[in-house]
Symmetry: C2
Subunit: 213 residues, 2 copies
Amino acid sequence: MRVAIPLYPGFTALDAVGPYTVLAAAPGVAVTFVAAEPGPVRDEQGTLALTATASFDEPPGYDVIVVPGGTGTVPALSDRRLLDWIARADATTRWTTSVCSGSFLLGAAGLLRGRRATTHWGFTGQLAAFGAVPVEERVVVDGKIVTAAGVSAGVDMALWLLAEMTDEETAKTVQLAIEYDPAPPYEAGSAKTAPRERAERALSWVLRQTAAA
Amino acid sequence: MRVAIPLYPGFTALDAVGPYTVLAAAPGVAVTFVAAEPGPVRDEQGTLALTATASFDEPPGYDVIVVPGGTGTVPALSDRRLLDWIARADATTRWTTSVCSGSFLLGAAGLLRGRRATTHWGFTGQLAAFGAVPVEERVVVDGKIVTAAGVSAGVDMALWLLAEMTDEETAKTVQLAIEYDPAPPYEAGSAKTAPRERAERALSWVLRQTAAA
């Protein structure tokens, strides 16, 4: 099975690497990183680059795509080559997926009209601008479109997706192989229970990265 | 605060990118990827490269190092430049940490003698070969040495570490920013409850990556 993860300047590394690690761990799954040109693409921090090995000009033909988010999503909304690639890739995928603000790129590619979809908790409502029905859930499935919430939600989505692509036992084996038995030291990851002041600070840190990208 | 993550051929991408994403999200924390030479370093799948921007020849001087694991750990155990860098970096760190089989590199650098430490569940006992006291916990702290269990445990470790480096509120704000409110579709990440057959298969998949690296 062929999976592609498109990269663009200012993506969030974990949005891409979380699902990559889950999917690529399964036998028979090949993951390709695609970008405007093959070569390194910088993330939103500007300090890490992941290397793409294929270009948006090549015919996609993937079974699954995973579009990462990141503060670079805002300029990427007017990146025609990226959006055209997403639309072309979607024409042949079995699953078209996104993590965090990657769902805005699905929206800009015209794929979310009338679809239930999610994104990072700070920006959920804005998905309506693309004709989507915003939903506050960790993983949202609507037909073949699967969207995950913020950053770390891509790992949970990828395990669900892998079970659909292969079978439940394969997904559970990968979960064990990567020892994904999460035990965060705090219960602080949900916006539903976060103090308002902390939520505002978290969003201001995200926006700070936008300025740096 | 300065954090370094050393890369070597065959590392596991999520071991590096999980902690990176947590730590770099906090204001005032700069993360540098270091390798034998600046440039792309391939992971254990061989399909993804992360770009290092500093070399093992430069004087370390970091407050924190995070050593990733991966199937490339085995050849890396005899990589003198990497091990010397770890030992030199450790001389000035406030925290010396590892994820997954990265703890074997701390061991080979002579840093685990008499220390409690952990690694991926499939290899915990083997830490004794480096004079360590193997412990089956998700995050193990012994003095300034902090070791995390397999792959995904690096995210949990990094949140704990960030609270120590800064304060609890900063760690909680980052956890919210990356929406780390984990909800895996299965309860299959712990070796303690896994069926033996699945555990054997999971390890064989890990070893298959060793062969590919």
